[in-house]
């Protein structure tokens, strides 16, 4: 076969190949996969080195979470990514698996906390708006512990206090939560200085314990003397000063808040409170600022009169000082007297009486009594009585007033050994007032108005006859007298008219008087001429008048020579 074809194709004119230098050895090509392998290996190593711990976080819901997409952020830096989301074994929770970065491996410690950052709109404000567009992410609060942990329970709401925030936590005890919530503001002098971190019901269910966090540097204002109160809502008070409306801020009105301040008065030994100091959370600022109540005592009072207007929580006062409140009002039936007495139970806070209580306590101690009941017994003997008094005339609200009533009737039903102590009572002031009014009315009704009227009538008749006598006898005589007087007056008038005419300008008396005065004037002039002459010629008195002396009667002696010398 080949022999047949050979002559056709391998002609003599076919050229021989030439030798060329050798090309690249084929084994070099293996460098390509080697390099690829190196790159691949470096990728693997890099990924392995970047790989941090994988942790699982359980949440109530996976709302907003997406595997492979949702990231874990700390201070807005991505430190991990959700790799898978699945339900827990009992389908009660969502277990989210997160791969943390190598750099964030120390975040997986036992007290780290995780939560889902979603847009939240609350009364206190809006948060997480950026996640509306970018989608939710998992926030983390890095703990301070060094104990590694891989399984976490996620928080359903962002923690209000982060581990790296500086400040102090305090504990508040309260009867109820009010309108407070996690994140509610804490105010000091109306500046927000912290927030409510958490709250929980006490184990016995009888109160609520709140944790608040006060930021640095305000935490130093929380002192051993600080008082906390619930600043929620609007405090409207009507007093002698008028209507007062007191709130912290509009946000507090809606969302609630806690405020604190030092108790009034000087505090020489106050110092910043230690972390986690426990305080009582009062209902109102007034209660918070009031002196501490101390241990309450329970007393009972029996009232025989109706107590309309007395309500639970009505104040109990001792000499006007509020030191307790009514806690119960019960009605009873007394078989002996067939009456319906009302038993009023009250809690009293002797500490509110301040020095009174401390002194009484000291006395009781010095006497060796177990409590102050002996002193109360003494006081009852002196007249300590409870009274239901009207506190408000408009509404008729009653309060209980304890006071030492002088000349009180001796208490018959007081038993010093009974517990609780039953304080004897006297009728309330309003009842007393009613009684006195009745007495007054009674007295008024006893006044003999008829007799008084008859007497008055007689007296008036007498008066009438007397007046008649006066009219008949006295008045005519009086008339005569007046006539006489009139005459006398007209005579006087005439006399005055004569005097008047005598004094008029054209009367002869006046004329004579004028002539006399002229004469007198003339005489005075001649007398002056004489004196002038004598003044110049004193010798004339002795020698007589000179020859050429002018006439003494008119003109001056000097005037004539002067006149004569002129022509």
């Amino acid at each position: 076969m080949t022999d047949q074809n050979t002559p056709n194709v391998s002609g003599p004119n076919l050229p021989e190949p030439v030798v060329k230098r050798r090309r690249v050895n084929a084994s070099w090509i293996w460098l390509v996969p080697a390099v690829a392998a190196l790159i691949g290996l470096s990728l693997v190593i890099n990924a392995w080195r970047q790989q941090g711990p994988a942790i699982t976080i359980s949440f109530q819901t996976a709302q907003g979470l997406e595997s492979g997409k949702t990231v874990v952020k700390y201070k807005d830096v991505v430190i991990g990514k959700v790799t898978s989301i699945r339900l827990s074994q009992d389908h009660g929770k969502v277990v989210v698996k997160v791969d943390l970065d190598k750099s964030a491996s120390d975040i997986a410690v036992s007290d780290s906390r995780f939560w889902v950052v979603r847009p939240r709109i609350g009364l206190g404000g809006v948060s997480g708006i950026d996640t509306l567009l970018s989608g939710s992410f998992i926030g983390v609060d890095v703990g301070k512990s060094s104990q590694p942990q891989t399984d976490f329970v996620g928080l359903e709401a962002p923690p209000s206090v982060l581990h790296d925030s500086r400040g102090k936590s305090f504990t508040l005890q309260s009867g109820d939560l009010g309108s407070l919530d996690i994140g509610s503001p804490v105010y000091y002098r109306r500046i927000q200085v912290g927030r409510v971190a958490s709250y929980k019901l006490d184990d016995n269910g009888k109160g609520v314990t709140l944790q608040i966090f006060v930021d640095s540097p305000y935490d130093k204002f929380v002192t051993t003397e600080s008082r906390f109160w619930n600043a929620s809502g609007v405090d409207v008070s009507l007093s002698a000063d008028g209507l007062k409306l007191n709130t912290q801020s509009l946000a507090t009105v809606l969302a609630g808040g806690v405020a604190f301040n030092d108790a009034p008065g000087p505090h020489p030994d106050e110092k910043p409170a230690a972390e986690n100091t426990t305080y009582t959370l009062f209902d109102t600022e007034a209660n918070a600022m009031a002196p501490p109540d101390g241990e309450p005592r329970y007393i009972v009072m029996r009232f025989d009169q109706p107590l309309r207007g007395l309500a639970v929580d009505a104040p109990v006062e001792f000499r006007g000082i509020n030191f307790g409140r009514v806690v119960s009002i019960r009605m009873d039936y007394d078989e002996k007297t067939n009456q319906f007495p009302i038993y009023v139970g009250a809690l009293i806070y002797p500490d509110r009486l301040g020095r009174v209580h401390t002194k009484l306590e000291a006395i009781a101690k010095s006497r060796g009594d177990s409590d102050e009941s002996q002193i109360v017994t003494t006081m009852v003997a002196q007249g300590l009585r409870a009274q239901a008094k009207v506190g408000n005339l408009l509404t008729g609200q009653l309060f209980i007033s304890l006071d030492i009533v002088p000349h009180a009737l001796k208490a018959t039903d007081y038993n010093p050994n009974a517990r609780p102590l039953q304080i004897p009572t006297i009728p309330g002031s309003f009842d007393k007032l009613q009684e006195q009014m009745a007495q007054i009315v009674d007295k008024i009704s006893k006044i003999p108005f008829d007799a008084i009227g008859n007497n008055l009538n007689h007296t008036l008749a007498d008066l009438d006859s007397t007046l008649k006598q006066v009219n008949g006898d006295l008045l005519p005589a009086f008339h005569e007298t007046l006539k006489g007087a009139n005459k006398t007056l007209s005579a006087a008038n005439q006399t005055l008219g004569t005097a008047n005419s005598a004094l008029s300008a054209d009367s002869p008396l006046q004329q004579n008087l004028a002539g006399t005065l002229q004469e007198l004037q003339r005489m005075a002039r001649s007398l002056r001429a004489l004196t002038d002459y004598l003044n110049t010629q004193p010798s004339s008195l002795i020698r007589g008048r000179g020859k050429d002396a002018p006439l003494p009667d008119t003109g001056t002696p000097a005037a004539q020579p002067q006149q004569g010398s002129k022509p």
């Binding site: 076969m1 050979t6 050229p15 021989e16 060329k20 090309r23 293996w30 690829a36 990728l43």
Partner: protein, 207 residues
């Protein structure tokens, strides 16, 4: 034998470049006397080269699939997609036709190339005469589809260039696409370096 003669049986060697037929004088490194390009009866070290390139391509194919290839940001919503997750997303979001296209171009074609080339190489090295025509067809198929494997790379580069609206919408390439591109290039080189004549270099048994 009734079979047609082959060049090496006639002691001839042809130039790949200018078509010059030379006498095969068993030189070590023959070159064409007319155009100077090197002469070889078969592509030199074809199997080894193809294997090397194929293995390199396969190595790169792993990160190309594991690493995300594209980041799409729309209204702050950052979305990193690998090839497969992109396919799934397209399918879920109601574009099954596009999903099929992308899946074919990015997953099926490269895998097909790996399998076909590996099969061709193994069979060629064994010298088995099994299904030689079909294997030749497979080779032509691989050669043909090689051009279309860059679809993903083109999509990413086009989108990156076109979609840059800042916050509203943005597309950015991620490392995966580089590895994918390398895979495609290396598989093309591998299929080029394979000499299909090796398929036929075996003892003729059927004819």
């Amino acid at each position: 034998m009734s079979a047609l003669p082959r060049a090496h049986e006639l002691g001839l060697i042809g130039c790949h470049v200018c078509g010059q037929v030379c006498r095969d004088n068993q030189l070590l490194d023959p070159a064409c006397p007319r155009c100077g390009s090197s002469l070889h009866r078969r592509k030199p070290y074809s199997c080894a080269r193809t294997w090397a390139l194929l293995i390199a391509a396969f190595i790169f194919y792993i990160p190309a699939n594991v690493l995300p290839i594209m980041r799409t940001v729309s209204l702050g919503d950052v979305d990193d997609n690998t090839i497969l997750s992109g396919v799934v997303e397209l399918w879920v979001k109601g574009s099954p036709d596009l999903a099929v296209i992308v899946f074919t171009a990015s997953i099926v074609v490269p895998m097909l190339k790996f399998l076909v080339l590996a099969t061709l190489l193994l069979s060629a090295q064994r010298g088995t005469p099994w299904a030689r025509r079909q294997r030749s067809m497979l080779y032509r198929l691989v050669e043909f589809i090689g051009y279309w494997s860059m679809l993903d790379v083109f999509v990413v580069s086009l989108l990156t260039a076109l979609v840059q609206f800042g916050f509203f919408s943005e597309v950015a390439p991620l490392p995966g696409v580089v590895y994918f591109g390398l895979t495609v290039v290396l598989t093309m080189l591998a299929s080029q370096s394979f000499d299909p004549r090796l398929i036929w270099d075996c003892k003729d048994e059927d004819d």
